[in-house]
């Protein structure tokens, strides 16, 4: 389970709605400080191109993102992206995530995030130790709150 700083979910939905404009998929990445492995407190909006059914992050941006994270001693812990209709993990979602190591969280938001900013209709998947994904209850995967 990852703990998400208050306001992050709402902030993420704002990005997804504004960029997607109810007609394109969109993606944001949640990052956290290296010293707190299960905590995220920043929303990053990658450089990407998208259509109603597809979203592709600029590979060059990924390399620059790695270096920026290293400079700030942070890591990516989760990605949140939209689908036009229902929320699920497609074959593409399974195959081409940002992170390929255990514990990474992927959330899928239905209807281009036009609904309420909540976990209610969100689909959640978590990277398994040996590779692949485990599909999970989003409320058992993400907790909203602060860490001491």
């Amino acid at each position: 389970m990852i703990t998400v700083a208050p306001g992050m979910l709402e902030h993420s939905f704002e990005h997804l709605r504004r960029c997607g404009d109810a007609r394109r998929e969109c993606i944001v990445v949640w990052t956290g400080p290296c010293g707190r492995v299960d905590y995220v407190d920043e929303v990053v909006h990658p450089v990407h191109r998208a259509s109603a059914v597809h979203c592709e992050v600029d590979p060059d941006w990924v390399g620059r993102f790695w270096l920026d994270l290293a400079r700030r001693q942070r890591t990516a812990r989760a990605q949140v992206h939209t689908h036009p209709g229902s929320a699920f993990h497609s074959d593409r979602d399974d195959a081409y995530p940002l992170i390929h190591t255990a514990g990474y969280v992927s959330l899928v938001v239905p209807k281009f995030a036009t609904g309420p900013a909540s976990l209610a209709d969100v689909f959640a998947a978590v990277r398994r130790d040996g590779g692949g994904w485990e599909y999970c209850d989003p409320r058992a995967t993400v907790r909203i709150g602060n860490v001491s």
């Binding site: 998929e25 993606i27 990052t31 290296c34 990658p46 259509s51 059914v53 597809h54 979203c55 592709e56 992050v57 590979p59 060059d60 990924v62 390399g63 620059r64 790695w66 270096l67 920026d68 994270l69 290293a70 700030r72 001693q73 942070r74 890591t75 990516a76 990605q79 992206h81 689908h83 036009p84 209709g85 497609s90 593409r92 979602d93 195959a95 081409y96 995530p97 940002l98 992170i99 390929h100 190591t101 255990a102 899928v108 130790d129 040996g130 590779g131 692949g132």
Partner: protein, 92 residues
């Protein structure tokens, strides 16, 4: 009997997801050896490694798996990027 020097192991920094780790390599070994070592250091499962590539610090030139490391432009002390070749989502 003349003494022969042991093949020297050199070192590069590899960055993955904001973390930097030192990885040792032999300049004459194939790029895939360095790639596998980098994936091992970052605990990337074997079945996931096909999605990743090892890139020079220009973030564009991939360390060729089938070529000696030194011929790919890897130099001691340089920083390499281990990153996915593609990041995408979608219902199709």
């Amino acid at each position: 009997m003349p003494e022969t020097a042991a093949p020297s192991k050199l070192q590069v920094g590899v960055v993955y997801n904001g973390m930097t780790r030192e990885v040792h390599y032999n300049p004459h070994e194939q790029g895939r050896v360095l790639f596998e070592q980098a994936c091992h250091v970052f605990e990337i499962p074997e079945q996931e490694r096909g999605a990743l590539g090892l890139f020079l610090s220009d973030n564009a030139t991939e360390v060729r798996p089938d070529m000696p490391v030194e011929e790919s432009g890897v130099t001691p002390g340089s920083t390499l990027l281990l990153r996915p070749r593609e990041v995408s989502t979608g219902v199709v």
